[in-house]
């Protein structure tokens, strides 16, 4: 069963300056679902629309970002909630309880002049029925303890904590109300390897214990290999491959995914590695055909005329490439 669904989602950045309209198609016809009890990874280069997709899935859509087509649906207690059409009050009702969010660079989201326990208080003040300070500290301490963090941090100010500790406190905040789905946007990007390992361990432990779902956006394929169950590969605003983590790493089918996996350096192997040549296309120009065609070593004439559809090629494995399937993408309204 799915908890969050995106159906033919199109989210564009539309700006107007001096009468010139500029449209950046950051998320272009994306369909995906977040299932129960899974860790879903979203991978791709910077600028491929990962973060925009996440914002749209969370319903944080503010101009110039506009949802042009499609919709996002949450399944809350068996009922569907259309997030793209929901009122702010309805969204407030599902946020943090049904879906929560660990933002990018989240070690800087803690208020520097307030102790951690006051940040916890600010966070729950409007969301939970009134409770005394002592009750709240007890609750927060228990929650931190269950995540393996020292409850003493509640009395600390953010500057007294290391980057990894701040990041884990932010994760503790996001999981306090036991959400069904946690969205994490590059949760480990600014961290060092050892701290990153600690944060990954924390995330997978929460998922294991709570049996909720985690959506992890990062460009680090190593993190995906360690944490996720399924991976969605994005390129220039589109999903180009989707499948189980084991499949994506052992038998990637899209040429871009093959580059992505093949270019990763490994300690103990000094063999020369090539990355995909060239640059991704500009998303503010009209694009026809496959987005990867200019960098693809196996490009065919057909690839320039129409975009390939994302088709199922095996159990839980979908690819959008004419080498795999001749089906063209249908333009939905």
């Amino acid at each position: 069963m799915s908890l969050v669904r995106a159906e033919s989602l199109k989210a564009y950045y539309i700006t107007k300056a001096y009468g010139v309209e500029r449209v950046v198609k950051a998320v272009d016809n994306v369909t995906l679902e977040v299932r129960e009890n899974e860790i879903l990874g979203i991978a791709g280069e910077s600028g491929c629309g990962k973060s925009t997709l996440m914002k749209t899935l969370l319903g944080i859509v503010q101009p110039p970002l506009t949802v042009v087509g499609g919709r996002v649906v949450y399944t809350v207690d068996g009922k569907d909630v259309d997030v793209t059409a929901a009122s702010p009050q309805e969204l407030e009702g599902v946020r943090w309880r049904h879906v929560s969010y660990v933002p990018q660079g989240s070690m800087n989201v803690l208020n520097p002049v307030r102790r951690i326990k006051h940040t916890f208080r600010d966070f729950v003040a409007h969301r939970v029925q009134r409770m005394s300070q002592a009750e709240l500290v007890k609750w927060a301490a228990e929650h931190l303890k269950s995540l393996g963090l020292p409850p003493e941090v509640l009395n600390a100010y953010p500057h007294q904590l290391s980057g990894g500790m701040k990041q884990r406190v932010t994760i503790a905040l996001a999981t306090l109300l036991k959400p069904k789905v946690i969205f994490a946007d590059e949760p480990t990007t600014a961290l060092d390897v050892i701290v990153q390992r600690g944060v990954i361990q924390l995330l997978s432990r929460i998922q294991r214990e709570e049996k909720n779902s985690l959506v992890l956006v990062t460009h680090d394929m190593g993190v995906h290999a360690h944490l996720t169950h399924r991976i969605v590969i994005m390129y220039a605003g589109k999903v180009i491959e989707e499948g189980s983590t084991a499949k994506i790493f052992s038998a990637p089918q899209h040429p871009y995914t093959q580059y992505l996996i093949g270019s990763l350096p490994v300690i103990g192997d000094k063999e020369y590695r090539v990355s995909a040549p060239g640059n991704p296309p500009r998303l503010d120009r009209p694009l026809t055909g496959c987005r990867f065609v200019d960098r693809c070593p196996k490009a065919m004439p057909q690839c320039r005329q129409a975009a390939p559809a994302l088709v199922e090629t095996g159990k839980d494995h979908k690819v959008a490439c004419f080498l795999v399937s001749p089906e063209e993408e249908k333009e939905s309204a």
Binding site: E45, S162, G222, S275
Partner: protein, 355 residues
Amino acid sequence: MPEQASLLSVKELSRVFILRSGLTRTRIAAVNRVSFELAAGRPEIFSIVGESGSGKSTLARMLLGLLEPSEGKIIYKGRDVTAIRRRRDRLAFMKEVQPVFQNPFDTFNPLKKVETYLYETVYNFGMTDNVREADRIIDDALRAAGLSLVEVKGRYPNELSGGQLQRAAVARALITQPSLIIADEPVSMMDASLRMSVVNLFKELKERLGVTVIYITHDLATAYYVSDRIVVMLRGNVVEQGPVEKVLAAPLHPYTRLLKESVPKPDPKDKWEGEVKLATSEGVEYARAGCKFAGRCPYVQDACIREAPPDVEFDGRIVKCHRVEEIASGTAQPAQNGSAPPEALRSPKAGSQAG
């Protein structure tokens, strides 16, 4: 050691920062007695790796002459760089040693065209006064970095991708035909595919132009991929240094081992086992008298907590550890209770002395 044979020789370099708050003073040795040597005429890629807060960037800033060392010497081609006072000598040194910084979008002013910086570098270092000659020098440098003047001319930083911009930053550094490039986290803002293209560029510079590169990073996988020798830093101290094939492929210091183990391998079948212990606060580790890693080390002994470990030469590398020989031979027993002594959460002030 004959001075002529070395390109850059760093001797017992230290930098101490003093943090004052109220009446207490905390002394933080961001770089503590670091020594290494780069040979002349033998270009190499020399990596400095460590966590954030390990003193990597402080070391880089001292090498570039942007920060004065508290103690120690930096000798470049037989000359003490820290003693340079005259502007002309300073300029000659800057011409030889060029930086590449972390985030290319911060390096270039968004309101100026990218080429402005390239021309400025040409004129400021007196490469030429002739515009056409300047064009040629810039084009050569850009081509060495995989770009060309036609691609860059007239464009603002936002019109280039991150990878192109970082290449332009490398090209700018190449204009003065330096012998040494110091790249401080040049790929940490980039994703995997761009990372490899920049890292491959360094490899090319070394092989084709004979430039020595000091590559500062926390990405161990690319460090292993490009470098010849490596230095691992922890809280201002070099804990292990030597050829990369030894230090990263078969690390001896427990910290290097932990670092290597913690790099997530891009292989879903090879996942971590066991939980990792994290430092709660950097200040506590900096203030520790003995080995800075004692709070997290599985092999910790009383001696590790009491006194700083010596530099031990072992198996072609230098390791800062009391128990390196036992660890290498596999006879070292982990601490009795299986984990290091508990480290209470303390503020960085806890280890300070009243001043």
